[in-house]
Amino acid sequence: MSIEAPRRADTAAASFAAVAEEHLDDVYGYLLYLTKNWALAEDLTSETFETALRRWRRFDPRRGTHRAWLIAIARSTALDWFRADARRQRREERAEAGELDKNRDHAFGEGFSPELEEGLRALTAGEREVVALRVVLDLDGDETARLLGITVTAVSTRLHRALAKLEERMRHHDVA
């Protein structure tokens, strides 16, 4: 959670390709944490960059960084998917979720311990989201608060709660 690094591509003249290349992992990582589903995260990442390309002319560097802008689009895309999925689940009465999660051992990335994977899965999407933004993507509190539409204090509280739950989960696992 250090101060944000100098923004190489955050200039008005930056090309979309360069921005996409630079922040692809951030967008994908964020969506992976949010959905805990790598296949879905990949689909949503593609969709995010398609939307971003359509809106590329409207990007205003005075209102935030390229990364924050892309994450905001990713969040909106993911929430749209969640809404659609909730409607579909209600319509089809299909309660089974996480079918795709089982397709890969490491949903959140290589190198994670199984305990941490399990702990992350146990978090809510909102908690995983704040962990992704503040810890994995290293966004500062202000930027995260703007993205989530909540206060900086709420971001801190949510992050603290998520990490505490993770710790508790892993401690329980160690004892077992």
Binding site: S15, F16, S46, F108, V136, G149
Partner: protein
């Protein structure tokens, strides 16, 4: 595991986009047209202004336009009003009282000869004269002559004020018999150079006739009541009612007599207000300077702009509140929906 360890593990294993996804995103990015993007990156932010910045510019700009337009209109209208102001400044002084029925006002000579009260009708005659004399001594002499004249015509002085000195002037209010008013005006006008003269005649005859008719009616009613009271067949209650009625009628009769006497007195005597001035005292009311006129007009325009703005605000306020409520409701709903979606 502690939080630092957790964070270390989380940051050490940041998700990396798979190669297939990277290739897919590169394909998407390749659709970007270079000139199009360059224009988008540089032009759009310039065109797209945040609301706060717009407000920061628009509010002072609107205020400046409002004040500037008020100033321009004030300047333009100050020219067109100057003549009207000049004329008002003089006639306003001369014609200080509105005349209900007949109003003869002129700054010219020989007006006294045009006044011809109708002696067979009751009339209230008022005259206002302003004469100019050569100097302060002339003011005293003219005032004294006016008082003497009033006395000689059988009238009396209501008020008199004589001031001597550089700006000598006299203000007299006298009452003279209506039959002599013409003679009085002619002679008072001869005290100096006539600056202004106004004669007002109000007809009082209709009022007097009405009073007399009512008086006759009341007298007749009193006679009837008195006749009834002189009879022997009245019971106590009827007698008490008739006596009460008689008292009321007599009281009304007294009031009618007073009003008739007052109206007759008003009609017998004419009131003349005489002002004697020296040159320079009676000057036109100073016309406001161009700056004052401009400021006045600009203020008027600003007031109207404020009134119009207020009216627009009043009309628009309910719609704005409705819009705000809808916007807030929608935002709140979306926030709750997001919380619900992210709680799983």
């Amino acid at each position: 595991m502690t939080s630092p360890n957790l964070i270390n593990e989380l940051t050490a294993s940041r998700p990396v986009a798979p190669t297939a996804l990277r290739a897919r995103v590169r394909e998407i990015a390749a659709q970007e047209a270079a000139p199009h993007a360059a224009r988008g990156a540089s032009l759009w932010p310039k065109l797209r202004l945040p609301v706060r910045r717009i407000a920061l510019v628009a509010v002072p700009a609107a205020a400046t336009i409002a004040i500037a337009s008020a100033g321009v209109l004030g300047l333009a209208r100050s020219d067109s009003n100057v003549d009207a102001l000049r004329s008002q400044s003089f006639t306003g002084k001369v014609q200080s009282e509105a005349a209900p029925e007949t109003n003869l006002a002129t700054p010219a000579q020989d007006l006294g000869s045009t006044v011809s009260p109708t002696l067979d009708r009751a009339q209230r005659i008022s005259a206002t004269l302003t004469v100019e004399v050569a100097d302060s001594d002339g003011v005293s002499r003219a005032a004294q002559k006016a008082l003497d004249l009033t006395e000689s015509l059988g009238g009396h002085v209501v008020s008199a004020s004589v001031a001597t000195g550089d700006q000598g002037n006299a203000a007299l209010v006298v009452r003279v018999p209506v039959a002599k008013v013409q003679e009085a005006i002619v002679q008072l006008s001869a005290l100096g150079r006539i600056v202004s003269q106004q004669v007002t005649i109000d007809d009082l005859q209709a009022n007097l006739d009405q009073l007399e008719r009512r008086e006759r009616s009341v007298r007749a009613q009193i006679a009837v009541v008195v006749a009834k009271l002189e009879g022997d067949s009245l019971d106590a209650t009827t007698r008490a009612q008739l006596e009460s009625r008689l008292r009321t009628l007599r009281q009304e009769l007294r009031g009618l007599r007073r009003d008739t006497a007052a109206t007759n007195a008003e009609a017998r005597m004419a009131t003349i207000q005489l002002t004697v001035v020296t040159p320079g005292v009676l000057t036109a009311v100073p016309v406001p300077s161009r700056l004052d006129r401009t400021l006045d007009e600009a203020l008027n325009v600003l007031v109207w702009e404020g009134v119009i703005s207020l009216a627009i605000a009043i009309v628009a306020a309910p719609f704005a509140l409705l819009f705000l409520a809808t916007w807030l409701g929608r935002k709140l709903y979306r926030r709750r929906e997001e919380d619900r979606l992210l709680a799983t």
